[in-house]
């Protein structure tokens, strides 16, 4: 067996199979012919495969499976191997397993009983710790179409939809559709799961669950309301296929929920004007419009958020956005899609075909949109015919007075094309242009008449038909043309053309009195050999002549009628009988014959030459139904705009409910919406968070964070949301980029958000929500407020302070952020997440507003000393000098970091290149975010860069190397203890309360003696803030000065009190958990305060 299996291996692997004896030959799948009959060889082969599958060598099994898959691929039946294959479902070898899965999915339906054997394996795998294994188990399990396992599948889907891994949840969404198609009875249960998954914030899940929604319950539009904004905001980051599905769904949604942005009188012209109007004018116009119509902000949100997707590389996405704009955007804004659609025309022929079809439909209604791109629709001789005709169609639609002459010149080239079908289509096009644009009717007619002498019959025939239609519009002046055409009857053979000529002569028989009877004479001769179409027209001509010129044609007509009476075609016999009764007077003829002339020679309206795409516009663009111009199975109508918009508050329902929730009675039902609200805001923060991370380029945490989040570590995760507030301002700017990075985190947040928010009560979160979602700053505030009341107030204040303080200084930093905000997304270069200090975790668990009335927040630094410290002296730095100082700003790189600004000076007379930070020697736990390498520094130039260092609330030195292209210098930064703090603002009351909790071991104090003039409050304030970054606490007593701060790393409070005593003494008290820092600070403050 072993030698055997080796031989197989070689075969499949190398492909250069040498036939190894009889047995091997028989197993070659590719050549079933040869010595064996097809049938017998099949049988034998399968025997063989069974043996191999039963062998205990993986390689043999694998080989057998590969060949079986080969059989499946060719559509050969391999079902009889089922028992042998299914045994291997638990194989350890991944590839065998995968191939067995392929086999199972294909044949399980046919072998239901045996398939059940494999189910337990999948059930086990569903519990696997590895998310990918769970996902693939769910995938296969749900793909096995065996009705008995429906309950098992249902259970698996339910479980998977609550899985921590978004990837598994995505697969759950797919499984929903599979289960639904297997057993539609489960609909109700599945809708529940869909409802749950729709709340999911992961971009990975969004596309798949919307797909499931569309398939299972597209009419349950109410499920979308609460997720609408989230979907709009996530859209850019969803994978491309999901985008298509979501956009289509949202288009339908928008049509049911918003009122029409199209003005009643917003006709074609108006819209065309808009398109060309200058911006100002347009603004004015929109302003005017606003008085009557104001767009729902949610409507606007959708339109705005889909716009960037026009730039997608995926044609389907671009088309989806285009149709969204077409169907729901104000007409003046639709113009932007044309450029992108025209771009798609460079793509392969299939894409061109679909896009051109859609453009054709659009160009009928709004010419202006595509007019600037007229030349992009010019036809090349190498285009396939179907593309050519579509382009022609569009050119026709776009034709107007201004461009018609260019177009006609272009058409002239097309008429001569070797592709006759195309040439014929061009002629029709010319006809249509002629009818639509009266200025050129004559030119076109002349041109067409010229074509009548064309050598190609198809061209001539087509021209005849078109001329006939044109002449019908203005028959009076064209006797010459009619004569010319009558002559053509001798040569032309195409039935339609002959019929057209005859009809034309009949209709104008009074204008060409000499020719008409002669034509009839000729036709009577050839009547029997004509096509049916022509025969009918001969009869018509005869009838008309009989009525107008019976003297000359009576006999002829009767002859023709006799011929017609015995024609093989019943239509012609019918017509003959009808005409005879009508025109030939006899005793039986009724009243009608009196009116025969009126009947036959009535004024007939000219045909309207219309685009074949005219009637397509009732289908949603970009759909299969539109392409086929019939309603495809499962097509969902696009509803008309509602007269009155349904209650828009269904989408922002949170606001209202939260307000209600503010009343202390927490109702379980409302919690739901609250949950969502928080999670949303949290997500925004996440994004801003990662943007701030990424700005630094260090990507400090996110990589790991995703994982930790998946473990369900709620506190940690949401804390990262908090940490990041510093980035929130910039987050707005860079929200999109940022979100991309924050994906995994957003996902993991969902559980956390739920847990934590169950406790939540909030007050001002409602405004936060009602203002736009983008305003992440307000969101972050609400987030911080939204914690529960279980925690101590101490934390509350701290927390709140932090938020506020972070925001203010950041506005100043915007420019800086902008500058850096690209390096950002290096997130995956993960550094370990800094361990969270217990106090921060505590922060997250509880904050409340109800107990503390004071507004507490982190404040801006009271004072920023400009004192710089030397990092590298120019002498030791070979001309490179570096100084640093502490700007006392919250660090943008991570909020456990202290920000340090380094000013680099080049004192040499040469460029210093590539200044960057080399090796770092940091004490354990300490982290540093380095600045971006500086490519070059000009002589005498100086540059300031910022860094972030997490000193872990210690005064240990951060040592690192500052490197240039040629050298490396060892430098140190040792922070003064006062710089490890961030000021917080709190009320006196809170201060006292906190202080009360930090007594005993946490309190250090000393006595200061100095001159009394030093005890004025301003002097004390000035001295204290000079040393330490603390915030002043308003004090009710003149003799007591209070300062509050928190440590940067752990967020522990640091309370400083200076109590003036009798005479020239004062008591300095510091309360803090961090006693070491406290005592160091005490030691530093003492001499400062004692000084004169």
């Amino acid at each position: 067996m072993s030698s055997n299996s080796f031989a197989y291996n070689e075969q499949s692997g190398g492909g250069e199979a040498t036939e190894l004896g009889q047995e091997a030959t028989s197993t070659i799948t590719i050549s079933p012919s040869g010595a064996f009959g097809l049938f017998s060889s099949d049988l034998k082969k399968n025997e063989d495969l069974k043996q191999m599958l039963e062998s205990n060598k993986d390689s043999a099994k694998l080989d057998a499976m590969k060949r079986i898959v080969g059989m499946i691929a060719k559509g050969k039946n391999a079902s009889e191997l089922f028992p042998a294959v299914v045994k291997n479902v638990a194989s350890k070898n991944i590839e065998i397993k995968k191939l067995v899965y392929v086999y199972l999915v294909r044949y399980a339906e046919e072998q239901q009983d045996l398939a059940l054997l494999s189910i337990s394996t999948f059930q086990r795998a569903l519990k696997d710790p590895n998310q990918l294994i769970r996902a693939s188990a769910l995938r296969v399990l749900s793909s096995i179409r065996v009705p008995i396992i429906v309950p098992i599948m249902m259970l698996a889907i339910k479980e998977a939809s609550a899985d921590l891994s978004p990837y598994v949840r995505k697969n759950a969404a797919h499984a929903i559709q599979k289960l639904y198609s297997l057993d539609p009875e489960q609909k109700e249960m599945l809708i529940e799961v869909i409802e749950k998954l729709l709340k999911d914030k992961s971009t990975l899940v969004a596309g798949s669950v919307v797909m499931a929604f569309e398939e299972v319950c597209p009419d349950r539009i109410d499920l979308i309301h609460k997720n609408y904004r989230k979907l709009c905001n996530l859209l850019v980051d969803v994978e491309e296929w999901g985008q298509v599905v979501i956009i289509h769904m949202l288009t339908r949604y928008a049509r049911t929920q918003f009122v029409s942005p199209w003005k009643e009188d917003d006709g074609l012209e108006d819209n065309e004007k808009n398109f060309y109007e200058s911006d100002d004018e347009q603004k004015e116009k929109t302003d005017k419009r606003k008085k009557t119509y104001a767009m729902d902000p949610d409507h606007r949100l959708l339109i705005r958020n889909t716009k960037p997707l026009l730039q997608s590389r995926n044609a389907a996405v671009v088309m989806a956005v285009a149709q969204l704009y077409w169907h729901i955007a104000p007409k003046s804004e639709t113009g932007i899609i044309s450029k992108s659609l025209v771009r798609l025309l460079r793509s392969n022929r299939e894409v061109q075909y679909i896009v051109l079809q859609n453009i054709a439909t659009m160009s009928i209604q709004r010419k202006g949109m595509f007019e600037p791109y007229l030349k992009s629709f010019y036809v090349r001789s190498t285009d396939p015919t179907m593309i050519k005709t579509l382009k022609l169609e569009i050119l026709t639609n776009l034709a107007n007075e201004a461009n018609i002459s260019t177009l006609l010149r272009e058409f002239q080239t097309y008429v001569k094309s070797q592709d006759k079908q195309f040439a014929a289509a061009t002629i029709q096009t010319i006809g249509r242009c002629a009818t639509n644009i009266s200025e050129v009717t004559d030119t076109c007619l002349n041109g067409l008449v010229c074509l009548l002498s064309n050598r190609d019959e198809i061209v001539v025939a087509e021209s005849v038909v078109v001329i006939k239609k044109l002449l019908q519009m203005q028959p009076a002046q064209h006797g010459e043309i009619i004569k010319h055409m009558a002559k053509l009857l001798d040569s032309i053979t195409v039935p339609v053309a002959r019929a057209s000529i005859l009809w034309l002569i009949g209709e104008n028989c009074e204008r060409v009195p000499k020719i008409a009877p002669d034509v009839l004479r000729k036709m009577a001769k050839s009547f029997t050999s004509e096509d049916d179409l022509v025969k009918l027209q001969i009869l018509n001509l005869g009838a008309k002549l009989y009525l107008t010129n019976s003297k000359q044609t009576k006999l002829l007509t009767q002859y023709i009628l006799n011929l017609g009476k015995y024609d093989q075609n019943y239509d012609i016999r019918d017509r003959t009988r009808f005409i005879r009764q009508l025109i030939v007077p006899n005793e039986k003829s009724g009243a009608l014959s009196k009116y025969a002339k009126k009947i036959f020679l009535a004024q007939k309206p000219a045909p309207l030459l219309e685009s074949p795409f005219k009637d397509r516009d009732h289908f949603q663009l970009g759909t299969l139904s539109h392409t086929l111009n019939t309603k495809a199975t499962g097509y969902l109508e696009l509803s008309n705009w509602p007269e009155v918009a349904p209650d828009p508050s269904v989408r922002n329902v949170e606001v209202i409910e939260l307000a209600k929730e503010w009343t202390p009675v927490g109702k379980a039902k409302k919690e739901n919406s609250a949950k969502k609200f928080y999670s949303e805001s949290e997500e925004d923060e996440d994004s801003s968070d990662s943007s701030s991370d990424s700005e630094s380029g260090s990507g400090s945490e996110s990589g790991e964070r995703g994982e930790s989040g998946e473990e369900g570590d709620s506190s940690e995760d949401s804390s990262s949301g908090q940490e990041s507030e510093s980035g929130s301002e910039s987050g707005v700017e860079d929200e999109r980029t940022a979100k991309r990075n924050s994906k995994p985190k957003g996902k993991s947040d969902s559980e956390d958000g739920e847990k934590e928010n169950e406790k939540s009560k909030t007050s001002d979160s409602s405004n936060a929500e009602s203002s736009s979602i983008e305003e992440s700053s307000s969101d972050s505030e609400s987030e911080s407020d939204s914690e529960s009341e279980t925690e101590s107030r101490r934390v509350t204040k701290e927390k709140g302070k932090k938020t506020k303080q972070d925001r203010n200084p950041l506005t100043k930093d915007v420019s800086l952020l902008d500058l850096d905000d690209f390096n950002p997304v290096s997130t995956p270069v993960a550094l370990p997440t800094p361990a969270l200090s217990p106090s921060l975790i505590a922060d997250l668990e509880g904050l409340n507003l109800s107990t503390s009335s004071s507004v507490i927040s982190v404040t801006a630094p009271v004072f920023v000393p400009m004192k710089t410290h030397v990092l590298l002296h120019r002498m030791s730095g070979k001309g490179l000098a570096a100084n640093y100082y502490f700007p006392r700003q919250p660090c943008i790189f991570g909020d456990k970091m202290v920000s340090v600004q380094i000013t680099l000076n080049n004192t040499t007379d040469q460029k210093i290149e590539n200044i960057h930070i080399g090796g770092k020697k940091l004490p354990i736990g300490m982290q540093m975010h380095v600045f971006n390498p500086i490519d070059s520094l000009e002589p005498e130039g100086s540059i300031t860069v910022s860094m972030g260092i997490d000193f872990c609330d210690s005064t240990q030195t951060a040592s690192f190397q500052l490197c240039t292209k040629d050298d490396c210098f060892n430098v140190n930064i040792q922070p003064p203890v006062g710089e490890l703090l961030l000021p917080v603002a709190m009320s006196e009351k809170d201060f006292k309360k906190e202080q009360g909790m930090l007594t005993g071991m946490n309190e250090t104090s000393t006595v200061i003696i100095t001159a009394p003039q030093n005890f004025t409050s301003s002097v004390i304030l000035q001295k204290v803030v000079n040393v330490a970054n603390v915030g002043a606490v308003p004090s009710g007593q003149d003799n007591i000065h209070r300062f509050a701060a928190k440590t940067v790393h752990s967020g522990s409070l640091m309370l400083v009190t200076v109590e003036l005593k009798e005479g020239s003494t004062a008591q300095l008290i510091i309360n803090t958990e961090k006693t070491v820092i406290g005592s160091v600070l005490l030691r530093e403050l003492k001499p400062v305060l004692s000084q004169g």
């Binding site: 559509g75 339906e109 990837y167 450029k339 894409v351 992009s376 495809a632 290096s826």
Partner: protein, 418 residues
């Protein structure tokens, strides 16, 4: 969405089928064959065909039809785009997307299809992720596999799908870190009889070949970004940065990929690098005609134009051609009536020309119109629009990558009407 996929070769054999939902019989393809017969030319087979119970959406690529079976409403472009993505993946894996390559690697093909679509909805289509899941075949690997019995399926589970940068796999390592960009511009033009330009436009792409370790974050800036009128991006590009600063900032996928494709704004006049003098005439009532074309450089910015090929679809009545080229060689296929003249380089001193007689079918009327000439050419080291890359910066990694930019201008759909 997508129910099944059939791969059909030119002779109408279904050589591979794959079903993602319940099995659809091969007989559904009969409708396709019917349409194919009606269309006569493969190019004209309608991409969307409606049958009583299914809809067939097909693409034609590299002499193969990819026919997918659809049962319910779906945006047709969605399916078309996906099928092209499948074909691209095959191309990427096997070096070519041909029947032979697919048949040789049928197991890998099946595994790929399994990963790319779940229940008819695309699952993993990024080449980086797929390559982690299923390793592409190489000669070395197949030899090793056959000896050790190991497999193509990645033994470590991929993480890319779960990462926040789904297009890049983690843990990339190279000894030589390189980043190359090819700026390729194509001139689409229609030149009329008299030599004036009816329509001209520049379409460009930037293809990148990035072999950088770790997680580099690149930003590419242009000297004249305003030239780019309409751009479509690889998903890795940060749209906001482009909007605000006109800088392409991205974490690249590993390997080859198309970074952007763009169109140069149509307001700019397009320089047409070559001109063609032509004199093609068929005499009335005679069985021969004259054919004479000469190619010369026009606005070529001082660069040599090379790789010139002229393709002419002659009218049906042409039987044969007797021509003499001053340069290069020509072929005429009497069956397809296609004349191909491989010119090579233009030397301004002696302009290449092709002259001679055309034999026509006797008795047939002379062709109405002269055939149009399709011209291919290439100019190295030149982007005809004048687009220039300013600089490439890398963040997030410490090493110094080797960077390179190459410019090429080519003829796209370049047609001269005669």
């Amino acid at each position: 969405m997508i129910h099944s996929l059939f791969l059909i070769n030119c002779s109408g054999d279904i050589f591979l089928e794959k079903h993602w939902k319940s099995v659809v019989s091969q007989s559904v393809c009969d409708y396709f064959f019917e349409a194919q017969e009606k269309a006569a030319d493969v190019e004209n087979v309608p991409p969307v065909i409606s049958t009583p119970h299914h809809y067939l959406i097909s693409i034609y690529r590299d002499k193969l039809f990819f026919v997918s079976v659809i049962q319910t409403e779906v945006p047709p472009l969605f399916v078309i785009e996906f099928l092209h993505r499948v074909a691209d993946t095959f191309q990427d894996y096997f070096g070519e997307c041909s029947e032979a390559a697919i048949k040789d690697n049928v197991v890998i093909v099946y595994e790929l299809l399994e990963e790319m679509l779940d229940n008819g909805f695309p699952l993993a289509t990024e080449s980086n992720i797929l390559k982690e899941l299923i390793k592409p075949p190489t000669i070395l690997r197949s030899v090793v596999n056959s000896i050790t019995g190991s497999s193509n399926v990645g033994d470590t589970l991929p993480t890319g799908q779960l990462s926040n940068i789904p297009w890049r796999r983690a843990g990339v390592k190279y000894t030589n870190n390189e980043a190359y960009f090819d700026v390729i511009e194509e001139i689409d033009a229609i030149i009329d009889k008299s030599g004036s330009t009816v329509f001209a436009e520049i379409q460009g792409v930037i293809d990148a070949c990035i072999k950088l370790s770790g997680m580099p974050d690149l930003s590419l800036s242009f000297m004249n970004p305003r030239l780019l009128d309409d751009v479509s991006f690889h998903p890795c590009i940060r749209f906001k940065r482009w909007e605000s600063e006109r800088v392409l900032s991205f974490i690249p996928p590993d390997g080859n990929f198309r970074l952007i494709s763009y169109r140069v704004s149509s307001q700019n006049l397009v320089a047409i690098p070559v001109y063609v003098k032509h004199n093609i005439s068929f005499k009335e009532n005679s069985s021969c005609g004259r054919f004479d074309i000469t190619i010369g450089p026009k606005q070529n910015m001082g660069k040599t134009i090379e790789g010139i090929t002229v393709t002419v679809h002659m009218p049906k009545v042409v039987l044969n051609m007797n021509l003499t080229p001053t340069q290069g060689s020509y072929t005429f296929d009497p069956v397809t009536k296609v004349l191909t003249w491989d010119v090579g380089k233009i030397t301004p001193q002696k302009l290449p020309s092709l002259k001679g007689l055309v034999n026509l079918q006797s008795g047939a009327p002379k062709p109405e119109e002269n055939p149009s000439l399709n011209i291919q050419f290439k100019i190295q080291q030149l982007a005809i629009s004048g687009l220039k890359v300013n600089r490439l910066d890398m963040y997030g990694e410490k090493y110094k990558p080797f960077k390179g930019v190459k410019y090429v201008t080519k003829a796209g759909k370049f047609q001269v009407r005669t």
